[in-house]
Amino acid sequence: MLEIDDLEFRYESGSFGLRVSSLRIPAGESVALVGPSGCGKTTLLNLVSGIVVPSVGNIRFEGRELTRLDDAARRAFRISSVGMVFQEFELLEYLNVEENILLPFLLNSSQRLKHESRATAGELAESLGLRPLLHRRIDQLSHGERQRVAIARALITNPQLLLADEPTGNLDPATRDRIVDLLFEQATIRQATLFMATHDHSLIQRFDQVIDFSAPADSGIELLLNKPAHSTVNEEGNS
């Protein structure tokens, strides 16, 4: 269960912020964040993943109070419990497919890469139809294949929270449908909570909950625009 109460966050520039009075997302549910660009969808994803910290309020995930964790603990939470998929895929061009999938492990530990991790990557690649591409370079892949690699990278740690920020924004309709199916399928298999930011309204009927940022009040969200800043802690999140 993800619980947000009386949360308030504002970027250091003070030009934009969010206030969420109350939000409850049961484990395994899917939530669509819809609305135009720059309306706060990514900010909410960053708050939920612990990339940015609210000045006021609480975020609890499976009983853990994220707002009370220090930097290292929040990073550990992200790497172990959160899987992230981005619109621009954000794959590392100098790694091959397998290494990109294993990136969370490579970044997490100074230990040698374990054989089991490679085996897991292989199984995941198999389930996402990436097995023949494991040793290919990223620039040899199509957009759809790249997004599947990004999804595999997000799933490799078996996260409980799957965050997707406009994952279909750069894909054609056919590929978009396959990627969305894949995300739902993998979230269901893992009983993971799926948060997906999108401005594609055709997808919203597939989600258990929809937070519409074009009518945020209905979702218990208030957008803070051009108001004086509260004391905020900001890491390196995107707006």
Binding site: I79, L92, L95, F105, L107, S110
Partner: protein
């Protein structure tokens, strides 16, 4: 493999040309001072060892350094020559053994050292193949020269004319290789040794006479009286391209004039003891003396002091270069980090901390340093093998 190192390695390989340029710059920065130090130390050791093994050198008054380099390393020519009379004066003085040298000619690019067998004894040179010179026209070839010229005992070796434009000068001499010297790791490896008389023959001071032959007449009894041509000496009209001393003509070679006036370029003087050395040095104190005596150790020390000063200038230049390279490297790191902001932001969002990113960039730099150091080491090892040849060329 450690995750950070895997990422660093993959990134460097992905940008391999850029990495190669960086490795090249770093290797050069490491190599130049290391190479200079190594080379100058080696050169210094060689020059000092040779100077220490040569007690005194006598030659015509002039540059001491020229005389030392000429007598010890067969490099260059003193501005003036001395004579055999000076050598005899040293021997007859009873203070030192005199070893005359005439180093003026070359054979296929290698210096010809005209001297006596005392020189071979002083330098402890051994004949590895063949035998020492037995007659005029024989030569002993240094190990490196023999290897380069692919010479064996019994082969011929032609001297080079002193001046190719001097058409009326002496003919080149085709010498007989009597023996090959053992390697001595000294300038003697790069020289051809002949007896003094052979050197003077090459100089055109000594010469032989070719035997005339009588014309052979098919029917001497019927024609000779009629033509009066019987017993007329006939000289070979074919073009003589070189002189060769053979068993047959060796006896005809002789010298005209006073041997005391025959030229020498240097004389090695080996004093019998310290007192003799002091006395001998005292004999050359006069400014009017046409000859000079030098202690090679002192002259080479002076040269090395100069080399040391030049080396210090080089070291200063290398230090500046290292500072510039370090600054460029720092700039490279800053620019790389800026260019990779998006990649690092992705890593951060996945769960990677700033320390990890610093470690990643640090690992890349470390790998570049390690590769550059290895390259420096390999080149230095290759240099170690090449340096005796290089330093012998310089010395």
């Amino acid at each position: 493999m450690n995750g950070t190192f895997l990422l660093a390695r993959r990134h460097l390989w992905h940008h391999r040309w850029r990495s190669a340029v960086l490795v090249g710059c770093l290797t050069l920065t490491f190599l130049l001072p290391v190479g200079l130090q190594f080379f100058s130390t080696h050169l210094e050791a060689r020059l000092t060892a040779r100077a220490n093994a040569t007690p005194l050198v006598v030659g015509a008054a002039g540059s001491q350094l020229d005389l030392a380099l000429h007598a010890l390393h067969f490099r260059g020519q003193p501005s003036r020559e001395t004579t055999m009379a000076e050598s005899n004066r040293i021997s007859e003085g009873g203070l030192a053994k005199s070893i005359p040298m005439l180093v003026r000619f070359k054979a296929e690019g290698w210096p010809i050292v005209g001297t006596t067998t005392d020189y071979l004894r002083l330098r402890k040179l051994k004949v590895a193949k063949g035998h020492s010179w037995k007659r005029r026209g024989d030569c002993l070839v240094g190990a490196t020269a023999a290897k380069q010229l692919n010479l064996e005992p019994g082969d011929g070796l032609m001297t080079e004319p002193e001046n190719v434009f001097e058409l009326d000068g002496s003919f080149p001499l085709r010498m007989r290789v009597a023996g090959i010297l053992s390697e001595s790791d000294s300038p003697d490896d790069n020289a051809v040794f002949v007896g003094l008389e052979t050197a003077w023959i090459i100089a055109g001071i000594g010469h032989g006479h070719a035997a005339s032959r009588k014309r052979e007449m098919p029917d001497a009894s019927s024609n000779s009286k009629a033509t009066g041509e019987a017993d007329v000496p006939m000289h070979d009209a074919s073009l003589i391209e070189y002189t060769e001393i053979t068993e047959e003509n060796a006896g005809s070679f002789h010298f005209h004039g006073d041997r005391n006036s025959f030229p020498l370029t240097a004389i090695l003087a080996v004093p019998h003891d310290e007192a003799s050395e002091t006395l001998l040095l005292g004999r050359y104190l006069s400014d009017d003396d046409p000859a000079q005596i030098i202690r090679p150790v002192e002259v080479i020390d002076e040269l090395l002091t100069m080399v040391m000063r030049i080396r210090q200038l080089f070291e200063l230049a290398f230090a500046s270069m290292a500072t510039i390279t370090a600054a460029m490297l720092a700039l490279f790191v800053v620019l790389t980090v800026q260019l990779r902001q998006r990649e690092f932001a992705t890593m951060f969002r996945i769960g990677c901390g700033r320390f990890m990113i610093i470690r990643l960039v640090g690992s890349e730099l470390l790998l570049l340093f390690v590769i550059s150091s290895l390259a420096t080491m390999l080149i230095a090892i290759a240099f170690t093998f090449a340096v005796p040849r290089l330093s012998s060329l310089l010395a």
